[in-house]
Structures are given as structure tokens and as C-alpha cells.
């Protein structure tokens, strides 16, 4: 095997393929990254039985062949190479691979190619949407993905396919993020759901953000041994990944979205975010920030008793009875930041019921119903 490739192209492709490599692989070969060189291009792939990644890039292949090398090491090397074309070749009958870039030379051990599992077949395409839109939507729900591995269902993002509508949802029990968006389905009567590993989906969506169009592919019923695939092309690269779907019943979240609100506040997003960030400086771990709403004004406070305290007030459009409610400052900040709109609308029922955060483009405009971030308050004392 022998090929020559642009340094940037190669480094990016390796980074993409090595991204999902397990840090503690169940089998040594699964730490490997498969390089397959054929006429006109390279295919790099990785697989850990959960997630597979595959990327095709243009390269000048003078001698076709395929090898398996340590993915992490190759990623570390390619990231730090000088900006010169990269040449890779095998020697000693594929037992070693040589990488030359400028005056740097690396000799890498290869892993046994024959022990490497074959990658799952990409499922049938179900529809497409623009990469940037997909990336933004996934990022908005990814903030609420659970990090507790003892509750695996909550580490996932639920994806609902309903004709030309996609609904993404994630919750860690303290907040719930729901995003609705449109896409172009292969067939309009498609109705199914998939639960996808949240962290991995967020990575994938970000990496496909440059792609003009992302194809989502699904197998069968969408549960059990189901697979979901994503494919996108950016420039001369074509990237594709498959994820095994998570098992389990995602909480029935629609019932959690309050039907109506007793009071609504509208605040400029950046001012609110800055205020919460500042006031939260005195809020120790696990202590909340308190928000007191009244007509025209919001007072944000944190700290109590002998400890450090902070208070700041800001302008706020408010309708409803005066209300004081407390939140975990991090949860609050993440919700406001995820909106991406100039104004933040927060609606409440009571100080112990979930509040709903949504975006508005203008103080008086209707709220943007496509994204809702439900946040559970912190109950003070007692």
C-alpha cells in the first residue's frame, strides 16, 4: 500500500474516524483505525460495536492496499504534522507502516487486519436536511442530555420522525429540551422513533455541520438491534457514521410540558445571561440563584446568611403575580444560551413547578415554539 495525501485533509479525516474510538477497547483491534487505499481515494474507518465512523477522502494512491493502525496514535501524529503532503506506505509485508511528512518520519506497528470486524452496513436512507440546521438543533437538545450512566435511557437523545417533521428531545430529570424542525423525508408516511447516544450524536452533528445535506438512515422498527446512520459530504470528503440505538423507554415527556402559564417574563437574552453568570459567582456548588419577578423588573440574587452574596436587577417585561423562583445557575445559563434568540421568554405556573424557557426575536413577538427548555426549580429550605 502506498498513497500521498494533503496534510489537512488527512488530519481531519483521521480525527473524524478516530473520534469514536473507545479509550478502553473491549478487543485490542478495536483501538485500530482501518485505512483502505483504492484507486482515487482513501477510506478511513473505525468501529467499536456501538458506533462506526467512515470517511472517504481524495488521495493519490500509487499502490492499493489496506492496513489497521492504532487510531489514537495516528490522530495524535497527524494533528501535529507540519503542513506538507503526507506519504504513507507499508513495509515488511504490511507488518509496519511508514508515514513521512516533510522531514518527519514515523514508523507504526500495524494491527492484524484479519481480526477486524466488518463495519455495519449503512441502513436505508430515510430523508435529508441541511447540515448546519441539523447541527444547531442537536446542540440545543444536547445540553439536557443526562450524564449519569446508571440511567442509560437519559444519556440518549430521542429522535421522532413524523412525516416532514423531526422532534428531538433529551432530559436529565432536571430539565428537558425539545426541538422541532422540518426535513425532507424519503416517504411522507414515515413515523418512527429512535433513541441515540446523546454525546455521540452531538459529536456527529457538529462534525457534519459543514455538510450541505445530511442524510439520516434508519433500520427497521427503530428499537432493539436498530441502527441509525448519518451521512454528509463536505467539500471533497464524504463522512458517514452509524450508531446502535439505545434500548429502553424514554420518559413520556409531552405530559411534562405545561399546557398554560400563570405568568410570563420576557428579558433580553444576553443581559440575562451576563447577570446570571455574575450573580452565580457567589453560588457555591448546589446552591441556587433566586429570581424575583415583578412588573417591569427582575432581581437576581444568590448567597445567603454569613456567606458571600450578590444581587443585580434588570429590566424585564412581566405579566402575572409577583413570583420568586430559584434555579441551579448552570441549568439556567445553559437553557438561555441554547436559545440563540435576542429575547428570552420564561413562563411559570408556580415556584415549584417547571418553568419553560423559549426564544423571541422581539420583546413583543410571539414565542418561537420550535424550541422549548423545561427547567425544574430548586425548592428553598424546609
Amino acid at each position: 500500500m502506498k498513497f500521498r495525501v494533503e496534510r489537512d485533509v488527512f488530519a481531519e479525516a483521521v480525527a473524524w474516524a478516530a473520534r469514536s474510538l473507545p479509550s478502553r477497547p473491549p478487543l485490542p483491534v478495536l483501538a485500530g483505525l482501518l485505512i483502505d487505499a483504492q484507486e482515487g481515494g482513501l477510506t478511513l474507518s473505525s468501529f467499536d460495536y456501538e458506533v462506526s465512523a467512515r470517511v472517504e477522502v481524495e488521495a493519490d494512491v500509487s499502490e492499493p492496499g489496506s492496513i489497521l493502525v492504532s487510531g489514537r496514535l495516528l490522530a495524535d501524529i497527524t494533528r501535529s504534522l507540519p503542513d506538507r503532503p503526507v506519504e504513507m506506505s507499508t513495509e515488511e509485508g504490511d507488518r509496519k507502516a511508514q508515514l513521512v511528512c516533510g522531514s518527519s518520519k514515523f514508523s507504526l506497528q500495524t494491527l492484524p487486519r484479519e481480526d477486524y470486524p466488518s463495519l455495519p452496513v449503512m441502513p436505508d436512507a430515510a430523508g435529508t436536511l441541511p447540515g448546519a440546521e441539523f447541527a444547531a438543533a442537536v446542540a440545543q437538545v444536547a445540553v439536557a442530555v443526562g450524564r449519569d450512566d446508571t440511567l442509560p435511557v437519559l444519556t440518549g437523545i430521542r429522535v421522532e420522525f413524523e412525516g416532514d417533521r423531526l422532534v428531538l428531545a433529551a432530559t436529565d430529570r432536571y430539565r428537558l429540551a425539545v426541538r422541532e424542525l422540518h426535513w425532507v423525508p424519503g416517504r411522507t408516511d414515515l413515523t418512527t422513533v429512535a433513541l441515540v447516544q446523546g454525546r455521540s450524536l452531538a459529536d456527529t452533528a457538529r462534525a457534519l455541520g459543514d455538510a450541505e445535506s445530511v442524510t439520516i438512515a434508519l433500520t427497521g422498527s427503530g428499537s432493539g438491534e436498530g441502527l441509525i446512520g448519518f451521512e454528509g459530504a463536505a467539500g471533497k470528503e464524504s463522512r458517514r457514521t452509524t450508531n446502535r440505538l439505545l434500548d429502553g423507554e424514554f420518559p413520556k415527556y409531552r405530559a411534562l410540558l405545561p399546557a398554560e402559564a400563570s405568568s410570563v417574563a420576557v428579558i433580553e437574552s444576553s443581559a440575562l445571561l451576563e447577570t446570571v453568570k455574575r450573580v452565580a459567582l457567589v453560588a457555591d456548588r448546589n446552591t441556587p440563584v433566586r429570581l424575583a419577578f415583578e412588573e417591569g423588573q427582575l432581581v437576581v440574587e444568590a448567597g445567603a446568611g454569613d456567606e458571600a452574596q450578590a444581587v443585580e436587577s434588570l429590566e424585564c417585561g412581566y405579566t402575572g403575580e409577583a413570583l420568586t423562583i430559584a434555579f441551579n445557575p448552570q441549568f439556567l445559563q445553559e437553557g438561555i444560551a441554547a436559545l440563540g434568540t435576542a429575547y428570552t421568554e420564561i413562563s411559570f405556573t408556580t415556584s415549584t413547578k417547571p418553568a419553560v424557557i423559549a426564544g423571541r426575536t422581539e420583546p413583543e413577538s410571539a414565542s418561537d415554539g420550535s424550541y422549548r427548555y423545561l427547567i425544574m426549580p430548586v425548592r428553598l429550605s424546609g
Binding site: Y174, P288, V378, L380
Partner: protein, 413 residues
């Protein structure tokens, strides 16, 4: 006449042979009840005074909680298995503990301390440090105050105590240990080194078996050895802070002051099974009972804690502890139990024989300022309310009237 008899005969002057010394500058008192549980039991059983009496919990499998000096003379000491104590001292009378009595008398004793000075730092039910520097003008010299305390405790509560008087906490504690029972010992400020240096290293407060072993490996046996070792050597052997601290102690330096009302650091409960248990279901049930007890104690004191720890002692007496810190402090038995069970199950025991299990909640904070992060899916508040209702029922009708169904003992049909 032995020392014990001297003490118990009610001699109110310090036992003969103990130096009174010059107590100027010795403003720290360490007051320690003599054989506290056993002494309290003797109040119920005056006929046993002067005989070996052992207070042990948990029937034949329990451990010695306290013993009279007659039993101690035969080698019985607290925390020893009751079975071993019985072999050492077959003539002893074994009594079950009456914790309510101990708490009542302890409260009385602490009230006496409180009448001397507000600077009282209780270490446990039966011992406390007092800083009497503010009471000198009113009540006399430190040793006079010590004697007044001893007289009052004897008169009001009917038990004896020993008092160490010194310029620092740890010397005062050593002094009370040296004049037991029913004694008072002053270590004058200028004789601290002479007092300390002949002592074995193990006598120093804070030196446990591990530290003692490490120091013995360095060939250090007495406090004088420790004092004459370069501080750098100790820092390397024991860690920077611990090494320096011990070296300071060996020279009689102790910066720690008497801190009144030290907040409780943890609340726990453990229990030794009647017979060793290898059934996880039985262990789970015990964890539940302990979680219930700990949670109701937390609520009664308006505390909540973030760290849940379990202790497991196996049949061979090896003991392990495991802990997990929650994202939010809790005083709810259900949360404590869920964590305790997860910790126990994570041990992956394969029917190991368990002798004792315990649950402890650490990292305590004032429960009234604790903020509870609510969750979307369940109503933990409802559990808390249910447990509070059970607390109220227990206050009114006695402990255990409301409890989880799995803890209800079903009478044999």
C-alpha cells in the same frame, strides 16, 4: 486500699500521689466520665458496685461498650467482642445498654459544664473540653474549678469523672487519662515536656495503629524519640501535615482551641447481626432499617448530608467502607437507602459472610438552608412528607409504629 476503692469511697480531694502542681496558665480542662455506661448501670444496680460489670450490646455477639474497673483489671476493654470478655472475666455481670439513660445523664453533665463556661466542646456523650479562662475570677483557679465540677457531677448525677488540667487540649486529655478513675491531674505549663516525653507514642491523641506502626518502623517508641527526630523525617514518613503536627505535639505545642458547639460531622448507625449473614436480602433489609434511623435522626436535628457511606464487616473481622457523594444533600431515607444498596451491591459479594453493616451520612449541612433540586419525573417531596409524618407518629406512639413493610416482623403463624 486500691485506687479504685479510694475513688469510689467518695474522696473528693484528688487521689493521693497525684501532683497538684502550679495551674497558672492551665486554662483547658478535659473532663471524662469514668466507665460511663457501666457507672450509669450501677445506679440501677447498686448491689453490683465493686464487682466486675460489663455493658455489651447485641446479645452474645455484641461488643463491650463499657466495663467497670474491676472488669478492666482483668483485661476487658471497650470494643472487645462480648464473647472474649466473658472468657476473660467469667464472673462479670453482663448488662444490656440503656441508651436513653446515658443520653439523659449526659445532658445533665453537659449542663453542669455549661454552668461553668460557655466554652464547652463535647467530644462524645461522656467527655468534653472546657476553656475556663473566662471563669477564673468567678470560680477560682483551674484546678479548683475541676474539683467543683467533679463534686457537682458526683452529687447531681451519682457518677464519677476525671479531670485533666493543662495549657493545651491534647495534654489535658492525656492528663485525664492518667488520673483515672475519679482523679484530677494538673500538668503545669513548664512541666509539659517532662510529662510528655516518657510516654509511649501511641498515647498521643491522633496516633492510631497505622501511624504507630509507621513510627515503630523508624525505631521511634516514646514521645521523646519523636521530639528528637528531625521534622523532615516525620514529614516524609507520615505526610507533610501529619508529620509536622505530631512533631509539634511531641513538643507540647497544640494550636487547637476549645471550639464550642462543634457541628456534628456525620450521623450513622450500624448493627452486628445475631449470626453472620450471607443473604443479600437480609443485608438490604438491615441497610433499610439503618437508613430509616439515620434519616429520622437527621430530620430531628434539622440536618442533611451529601455523602452516604456504608460499612461492612465480614466474619473474619475485615472491615471495608464505601461512600458516594450525591449531587444534593438529603435527609430522606429512601435516597439514603437507594445509595447504600447501590454501594453494597457494587461490592459484588458472592455470598460472603457478613457480620456487621452500617450506614452513615456525612458532609452534614444545616437542613433549613438546603436547597432541593426538584426533578421532573418523581415527587421526592412526597417521600419526604411521608417520612416526616412517620417521624410525628413515632414521637407520639413510639419508635417503629410506622415503618417500611419489609421491616415489619411477621409473627410466626
Amino acid at each position: 486500699m486500691t485506687k479504685q476503692q479510694l475513688g469510689r469511697s467518695g474522696a473528693r480531694s484528688p487521689a493521693q500521689g497525684y501532683p497538684r502542681g502550679d495551674d497558672a496558665g492551665c486554662h483547658v480542662l478535659h473532663v471524662d466520665m469514668d466507665a460511663f455506661y457501666a457507672s450509669v448501670e450501677l445506679l440501677r444496680h447498686p448491689e453490683l458496685v465493686g464487682t466486675p460489670v460489663i455493658v455489651a450490646g447485641g446479645g452474645t455477639r455484641g461488643v463491650v461498650l463499657s466495663a467497670t474497673y474491676e472488669a478492666r483489671a482483668l483485661g476487658v476493654h471497650s470494643a472487645m467482642p462480648a464473647s472474649r470478655a466473658r472468657r476473660l472475666c467469667p464472673s462479670a455481670t453482663f448488662l444490656a445498654p440503656h441508651h436513653d439513660d446515658y443520653a439523659r445523664i449526659s445532658a445533665g453533665v453537659m449542663a453542669i459544664f455549661g454552668s461553668v463556661t460557655p466554652h464547652v466542646e463535647p467530644l462524645s456523650l461522656d467527655e468534653a473540653f472546657l476553656d475556663v479562662s473566662g471563669a477564673l475570677r468567678r470560680l477560682g483557679s483551674p484546678s479548683q474549678i475541676g474539683e467543683q465540677i467533679r463534686t457537682t457531677v458526683q452529687d447531681e448525677q451519682g457518677i464519677t469523672c476525671s479531670v485533666g488540667v493543662a495549657s493545651t487540649k491534647f495534654v489535658a486529655k492525656l492528663a485525664s487519662g492518667r488520673c483515672k478513675p475519679d482523679g484530677l491531674l494538673v500538668v503545669p505549663a513548664d512541666q509539659v515536656i517532662e510529662f510528655l516525653h516518657p510516654l509511649q507514642i501511641g498515647a498521643l491523641w491522633g496516633v492510631g495503629d497505622k501511624t504507630e506502626e509507621a513510627l515503630h518502623r523508624l525505631g521511634l517508641r516514646t514521645v521523646a524519640d519523636l521530639a528528637n527526630t528531625p521534622v523532615g523525617t516525620l514529614e516524609r514518613a507520615l505526610g507533610h501535615a501529619a508529620g509536622r503536627h505530631l512533631w509539634q505535639l511531641a513538643w507540647g505545642r497544640d494550636e487547637r482551641t476549645v471550639v464550642p458547639d462543634v457541628q456534628e460531622k456525620s450521623i450513622g448507625r450500624d448493627r452486628t447481626f445475631e449470626t453472620d449473614v450471607d443473604d443479600p436480602a437480609v443485608v438490604h433489609r438491615e441497610l433499610l432499617a439503618s437508613s430509616q434511623s439515620v434519616a429520622s435522626q437527621l430530620r430531628a436535628r434539622a440536618l442533611a448530608g451529601r455523602t452516604i457511606a456504608i460499612k461492612v464487616r465480614f466474619a473474619d473481622f475485615t472491615t471495608i467502607t464505601r461512600s458516594r457523594t450525591l449531587s444534593h444533600p438529603t435527609d430522606v431515607a429512601r435516597d439514603i437507602y437507594a445509595t447504600a444498596v447501590a454501594l453494597f451491591d457494587a461490592l459484588g459479594l458472592d455470598r460472603a459472610r457478613v457480620r456487621l453493616v452500617g450506614v452513615r451520612v456525612e458532609g452534614l449541612v444545616d437542613g433549613s438552608t438546603v436547597a432541593h433540586q426538584l426533578t421532573l419525573d418523581e415527587r421526592p417531596e412526597a417521600w419526604r412528607a411521608a417520612e416526616r409524618a412517620a417521624d410525628q407518629a413515632a414521637d407520639r406512639f413510639g419508635r417503629g409504629v410506622v415503618r417500611p413493610a419489609s421491616l415489619v416482623e411477621i409473627p410466626d403463624p
